[in-house]
């Protein structure tokens, strides 16, 4: 059963068409809520993409990935609120986030050396919880449980501008991740996921590659947090919480672990369904506990379609034997 670094996505033509439609969206509508929805899906997708890099490609199960996302969101928020709202300050915030992401990525990556899978999952869970508590307690800085709202630089006060920021960011991110995975480093990561012992016996310093992967995934998550912060203008402890990591995990599973289009498809399914279900809840109270459906769906998918939607698509399309 041979596997490539990633399953090929839908034909480039289809992708370009999709990108084109999304790019042109503001010409057809100026509905704030549409922008919000698309932005949410996009940022969610890129965050899930960064998570996929860790889990799907390198095989590291971290439950604390949200710490990168949330911390940079908070850094942006705090700077905007307490220091100033000029573009320069935003730029500084981005730099600080990136530095923090690299440091945190190194730390978290180091943990993979000392801890085996289960322990690693639990410690990363605990570390993320720690940060949540920290955010809760530092009321003056972070607004505690109420969250932090702030203004953004004038340039980004236009919804359309922000929309394009998010979209272009996602496209660039996707492109960079693809290049990364195609590179020799990326290929090694996949081989580590497949069979760590073998990779190690082939002479690769597994730890070094895990470190690289942790830092790369962390950076990507961090930058996504920045974009999120600019779009949202409000940040809460939920940005750091386990829920956010779990959301990325779900999206990754639903869309397809170890695939590139996976996170995007998963994010779209997840958010659109969530939105639809909660609107249903307003009409029929029975839908109020709709997360049950997600949990259920998620279990069903794990049991029946381990590769998520993307692999199911391939199995249907190419009529390959199970593999």
């Amino acid at each position: 059963m041979r596997r490539r670094a990633y399953l090929p996505g839908p034909a480039p033509a289809a992708l370009i068409l999709l990108a084109g439609i999304l790019m042109a969206l503001p010409l057809f509508t100026s509905s704030r809520s549409t922008f919000t929805m698309v932005n949410m899906i996009t940022t969610s997708a890129v965050f899930a993409l960064s998570y996929n890099l860790l889990v799907g490609y390198t095989g590291i199960l971290s439950l604390g990935h949200a710490l990168f996302f949330g911390s940079s969101a908070y850094i942006v928020g705090i700077m905007m609120r307490h220091v100033g709202t000029s573009l320069w300050i935003l730029f500084m915030a981005v730099l600080i986030s990136m530095v923090f992401a690299v440091l945190a990525g190194l730390f978290v990556g180091y943990l993979t050396l000392r801890l085996k899978t289960i322990y690693y999952a639990m410690v990363t869970l605990a570390v993320a919880e720690l940060l949540v508590i920290l955010a809760e307690k530092s009321r003056s800085l972070t607004g505690g449980l109420d969250g932090l709202n702030y203004r953004v630089p004038e340039f980004f006060q236009n919804a359309v501008v922000v929309y394009y920021l998010v979209l272009i960011y996602a496209i660039v991110a996707l492109f960079l991740v693809r290049r990364f995975l195609d590179s020799p480093t990326g290929k090694v990561l996949v081989s580590i996921r497949e069979n760590e012992q073998r990779a190690s016996s082939l002479g690769f310093d597994v730890f070094r590659y895990k470190l690289i992967s942790s830092v790369a995934a962390g950076l990507l998550a961090s930058l996504t947090g920045v974009v999120f912060a600019i779009d949202n203008r409000f940040v809460m402890t939920s940005a750091l919480a386990v829920d956010r990591t779990l959301e990325a995990l779900f999206i990754t599973i639903i869309g397809g672990v170890g695939t590139l289009p996976g996170p995007f498809i998963g994010a779209a399914v997840y958010h659109l369904a969530a939105d639809w279900l909660s609107s249903l809840a307003k009409v029929h109270a029975i839908f109020e506990r709709w997360p049950i459906l997600f949990g259920g769906l998620y279990i069903v998918i794990t049991l029946t379609m381990p590769g998520g939607i993307v692999s199911a698509y391939y199995r249907l399309r190419l009529r390959r034997p199970r593999g």
């Binding site: 322990y119 779990l246 949990g295 259920g296």
Partner: protein
């Protein structure tokens, strides 16, 4: 000095409940290699079912029975339906138990609502004892007695029964035990059931110590359970006991001194132990 005694008693009580939560988790992992994220949900189910039964009938013994029964039954269903297909696939196992956790949480919220419900102490166990000039909570003493007897029973099960022997052997080498003719799936099912029963039983007693219960119980105690299991060592029953008591005591002391530091301190303790001895205090080297 009085305060110290009270804190110690309370800490022991909490610690024993944590032990009950963690023991199942630990052995399930040690034997089956499954990190059962849903475990916190069973603990919570025990607390909800028992509190509800008590509020309806006023009979605490019945409530405890009901709580344990409900938790165990749901555990049985969970193992049968979704866990069995994924034995031997570690990533899928983690994902499935996570999914189960979410579903069970939502189910509880669907049935009892998302808000907290009060959980009173039964009149028989209310009040205080005088112990060496200090007033200690009767309910806490009850928990200690119950917890210690449970721990002793589990120890007995593990060391003096054939099932226990198989479990101990299986934790060390699950493959060999199959070669020797043991149907490991049946053993898994039994262990999962027992672990779940233990967790639900612990859950039935947590309500009155907190005064109220809510959906937060599953996440909070799952996290604490993990911490205890990690500190004590995966697969070790003694580890769960020692670590449970340790965490319980520490928590109580810290909450008295400076509440916000409680959870962070747990986490720091866990991290320290992991860095020094990655398999936990009593864990086996190289296991899983």
């Amino acid at each position: 000095m009085d305060v110290v005694i009270i804190l110690t008693i309370n800490g022991l009580a909490t610690g024993l409940l944590l032990f009950m939560m963690a023991a199942g988790l630990s052995v399930i992992f040690g034997l089956m290699g499954i990190m059962n994220f849903a475990h916190g949900a069973f603990f919570m189910l025990g607390s909800y079912a028992s509190t509800w039964t008590y509020l309806k009938t006023g009979n605490f013994a019945l409530a405890m029975l009901a709580g344990t029964a409900v938790g165990t039954f749901i555990g049985f269903l969970t193992e049968r339906s979704i866990l069995r297909p994924v034995y031997g696939k570690p990533l899928a196992q983690i994902l499935i138990t996570l999914g189960a956790f979410i579903v069970l949480n939502e189910m509880v919220k669907a049935v009892w609502g998302p808000n907290v419900i009060p959980s009173p102490v039964p009149p028989l166990l209310e009040g205080e004892f005088r112990v060496g000039g200090v007033l200690v909570s009767r309910y806490r003493i009850f928990i200690i007695f119950f917890g210690v007897s449970t721990a002793a029973t589990v120890q007995w099960l593990l060391n003096r029964t054939r099932l226990g022997m198989i479990v101990r052997a299986g934790v060390e080498n699950a493959e060999m035990i199959q070669i020797l003719g043991v149907n490991i799936r049946r053993v898994f099912a039994a262990v999962f059931l027992l672990g779940t029963a233990l967790a639900s039983l612990g859950g039935t007693m947590i309500g009155p110590t907190l005064g109220q219960i809510g959906p937060f119980v599953s996440t909070q105690y799952l996290l604490l359970g993990f911490i205890v299991v990690v500190i004590g060592g995966l697969g070790s029953l003694i580890g769960s006991l020692v670590a449970g008591v340790l965490v319980g005591l520490m928590n109580n002391y810290v909450v008295w001194l400076y509440p916000p530091a409680a959870m962070p301190l747990n986490i720091i303790l866990m991290s320290l132990i992991l860095l020094v001895k990655p398999t936990g205090l009593f864990g086996k080297e190289g296991a899983h």
